[in-house]
Every structure is written in C-alpha cells, then in structure tokens.
Symmetry: C2
Subunit: 317 residues, 2 copies
C-alpha cells in the first residue's frame, strides 16, 4: 500500500524506492526535510504544506493520447448506432473510422463537439457511472493494461511521501474534474475535494421530485496554462509550496508556486524513456514540453529524466 | 478551544453544551450516531461524511446587513478622498451619506458597482491584506464587538462535534470566497480549501517578474440558491450528508443534500430571538426565510428556534 509509505528512511526503508539516487531524488528529499523540520529556517506549518500535481503525463501516461480522449473515442463508438448521421458528419466520422488522434490535435471546435457529445447532456451521477464502467473494462492500446495501471510508481511514492509529512496533495489538471474523481481516490489516494480540473457548466433541477445536476453543453473553466494558478486560488486559496508537472501547460502553476517566499519545489517530469514509456518533449503534439523546459533550466527547477532517474516506471512492468 | 470538543458525551461533557435539550439538539446527535456507528444501518464511511454550512445568518450574524457589506461601506469611505466624484455619483453618494443598506436591498446593478469598487482591481494578496486589516479594527454597530465575535457559539459546537466524528466541514456561502477565508481558519477551524463561496474572475500575470493574480471586475460565480449545489459539486465532488442554512438562499443546498440515500440532516437556523440577536423570517430584506421554511415544515427538516433551542447565542454575551 503506497499510502502507508513512511517518511522515515532509516527504520522503514526508502520512501522513494523507485527513484535512482541523483539530483532529482535528492531535491525532493531535501525540500521535504527543509520545510518540515521545526528547526529549519524554511519550516512551513502543516496547514500551508500544499502540493499540486498535474495529472496527464505527470501521474499517468498521456500517450498516444490523453486517456480521457480514449474514453471519448469509445463513447463515440458506443453512441454511434443511435446517431447514424455521424457516419458522414465530421468530426464524428474521423473518430469512428479514421485517425481519431487528428481530432485531438486539430481544430479546437471539433474537439469541443466531441466533448459535448460524450461529456454533456447527462446528470453528474450518470456521467460518473459511465466513466467507472469504462475504466473497469478499457485497456491501453499499447500495454493492454487497465488505464489505472498506467500510473507512474515513482510519483505514487512522492504523493505518499508528501502526505506522510503532512502535506495535502491536490491534482490540478486540464482534464475533466469529474472524470479524474472517479479513480483518484483509489489510484492516487486523493479525495474528490482535492481534485481540481476543467469543468463544464452545471444546472440544478428537480426531476420527478428528485434533485439532479445536469451537465450543460458549455465549458465553465479550463484548468490549463494560466488557468492553473486561477483554479488553485479558487479551490485551495493558498499558494502551493510544491508543484509537479510535465508540459508547457504546467508552466504558470510552477511560476505561481515558486513566486512565493521560502523553500519551493518545482518539478518537471521529462519523458525520456522510449523503451519503458515514451520519449517526447519540444516537438510533441500531446504534452509538449518546450517553454517550461527553458524556464526550468533558467531557474534551476528539478527536471526528472525518466530514463535515468526512475528505477521503475510502472508498478506492473 | 471549540476544536477540542469531544464526541463522547458521557466522559467529557456535552459536546453541544450551548444547546437546550429538545428536538433540534436531539436530531443532530441522533444523526451523528446513526452515521458513525459501524453497526448502524445508516453508517457512512468517513470519506463520505461531508457537512456544508452557509455562513451569513447560519454561523455568524447577518444583521443589520451582511458583514461583508459593512466592509464595503467602510472601504467606500476610505476610498472616497481619492474619488471626489463619488460625492455626487450614485450609488456611492448613498453609501457615503445616506442609508447605505438601501443599496444592498435595492437595484442589483448598484450593488455590483459597489462590489467592483471595493473588491476588484487589486491582487488577491492585496485584497487579503485589506480584509485582515479591516477585521482587526472594525466593530459591529450594535454590540461594538469585533465581527469575528458575532459567531454563534452553538454552531461552533456543531462544527467541532462533527469534526470530532470525522466529518469534513465546509462553508458554502453567497459571500465572497476570499473574504471568508481571511477568518474561517481561526474563527471556525475551517481551512481555506474548505471554504466555498462567490468568486470573481482572476487573471494570472507577471509584474516585475513576479506572478500575481489580479481580481478582475467580473463576477465568476454566485454561491447562492441553485448555485450552492453547483459549487458543492465543483469543489467537493460529493453530495453532503448534512447541510445547515438559515434562509431561502440555502433551499437548494438542503434539497440536494436530502436527495441522496440514507440518513441525512437538513437544518435551518430560525432567527427568533429579538433580545439576544434578531427576529426575522418571511418578511426580511436580508436573510429571508420563507420558501425554505415551508419546505422544512413539509419535509420535517430540523428547524432551530434560536430563542428556545440556544442556551447561549454568542460566546461573549
């Protein structure tokens, strides 16, 4: 059980056992020690120990495309028999018969249509049930593992290590908040109220005397790029002292985090392992890491070289 | 220390000592026992023990007008020397020289102008400092007490009693999220991330190389009426099993809470005590309790009669 990882390295073993010794691992441990030792000049009170994590590409795989997009593909296929028009109508036609990924990386309006068709027009309870059903049976196209096994073991250890040191761990994702909440508790040990993400508009209404929340076909908030510090402020109301990301969409979260006084940890996972996971950065069409890598280099943020820093990538490899 | 109130009534005294014996007190205790006793058919796992509290009129006084409005009045006065136009310009003129409360209960557009002038156009850090400074010196016009002493002792005991029984307590307010966060920790024992309220739009930007969040002059979300279940879903992602309010603005939160399966607690504080606090309900222009009272009566929700159910109203009376 990852959640039971201890913060004492001597008696109970290494809390970051899947990390090779090196600068990345050392930076995490020295940051935690500096902020939790009452004698340290960088000591931080427990209520201010806020750590935020991007999800896609930081806590689990985002290749060959975001896992939530894989859900959308499968939902479009499942809904197609009831929507015969889609056979000839873009972007549905491409989703059903062509290169679905091109919809993700192409025109934003097409992607919005796909999100609307698969994520909206139902109640929050209905959506929750759909995602849970899908996650229980869907498999990653490369590994054939359940998607919730495509999480990075070293990052699970960081989550547990921080919590063992009285940090509160939050997800701050460009992905859908209600999608992530279906598995974040069991997979990451992160409760619903500590999952922050993109949201759609909701409408409260009574149906046959029962209250429901209807998911309207309208984006409410996108938790990516400059939206990350904004939703951190709305949901948490404190500036994180540690933030973890992997792409340009995380840059502003890391800037906001490091902009405060005292010890700060800003960490980027760099996907350098074409064998065990994927290798991509500045040219990637999903999860591009370019400007944020420049800033990490300029500011001496921690950059994890997955190939060299991680002894193990997945729990089940 | 309210936070240390125990959930065992026999050994350590009554956790609801400021409540007179009666149906209201009994309903709270029987609900907590039913949901926390593993042998109970209504047992609820700790992670699902979510309780939401309205703030104005439920946890602290909202008369003669919302305390946040008192802040706005004082800010307008403080800003007036720098804004000489306000002497002849409504609604500022009325705020400065006339019946300020008429701005609160009148045209919504006037109120939005006041909010914009006092709450927007600064960074989140600047606003936080302004509110803290004001709370440290401002006094309630009737009691001359600091506003943070105008909290209801019996409700502090409910908060502590629930937390002692592994509930998570949240504020869900129509008031401003950043206003409430300045005092909710110390006053209610509720951390920033468990305060939900109305929000304005925020903009992330760099100022002299430092990241700031600027409060734009645009409402983002109003956490009142049907907005309450919506922001509960966005922030918490679970339906509460207990909800506490005092006005029609809390009706949908109580409907949403009681709409789930199993034991539920819906409680309304009814202001019936003209001597120790205020007496108002169906005709009130601030904190009106009318439709919600009808529904409480129809659904047998718990209605607290402040005059008879509360042994003590304020800690300092």
């Amino acid at each position: 059980m990852v959640n039971q990882a201890s913060h004492t390295t001597a008696a109970s073993g290494d809390p970051l056992a899947s990390w090779n010794e090196g600068a990345a691992k050392a930076s995490i441990i020295s940051f935690v020690r500096a902020t939790t030792d009452p004698a340290s000049p960088d000591y931080v009170r427990p209520q201010e120990r806020i750590a935020t994590f991007d999800n896609d590409g930081t806590l689990w795989t985002e290749q060959p495309y975001y896992i939530q997009f894989a859900f959308a593909i499968d939902q479009i296929k499942a809904l197609a028999p009831r929507n015969p028009d889609w056979q000839d109508q873009e972007p549905f036609k491409t989703m059903l018969t062509g290169n679905a990924k091109s919809v993700l990386t192409g025109d934003q309006r097409a992607l919005v249509q796909i999100v609307a068709a698969t994520h909206f027009g139902m109640t929050t309870d209905e959506f929750d049930a759909e995602v849970r059903k899908w996650l229980a049976s869907a498999r990653h196209p490369h590994t054939n593992w359940p998607y919730t096994d495509m999480v990075f073991q070293p990052m699970l250890e960081v989550l547990a290590y921080l919590r063992a040191n009285d940090f509160k761990t939050f997800i701050v994702s460009g992905g859908g908040i209600e999608f992530i909440r279906t598995f974040a508790g069991q997979t990451y040990g992160i409760p619903h109220q500590q999952v922050i993400g993109s949201t759609g508009k909701l409408k409260f209404e009574m149906r046959d005397g029962k209250p429901v929340l209807l998911k309207l076909a309208e984006i409410n908030f996108i938790g990516d790029y400059a939206g990350k510090p904004v939703c951190i402020q709305h949901h948490i109301g404190r500036r994180p002292i540690a933030a973890f990301g992997n792409s340009d969409g995380d840059l502003q979260m890391l800037q906001w985090t490091t902009g405060g006084a005292g010890a700060r940890l800003a960490l980027l996972v760099r996907h350098t392992d074409a064998i065990r996971e994927w290798e991509y950065d500045r040219q990637a069409d999903v999860g591009r890491l370019d400007h944020a890598l420049d800033e990490a280099n300029a500011k001496s943020w921690t950059v994890v070289d997955m190939k060299h820093d991680w002894r193990r990538v997945f729990q089940f490899e």
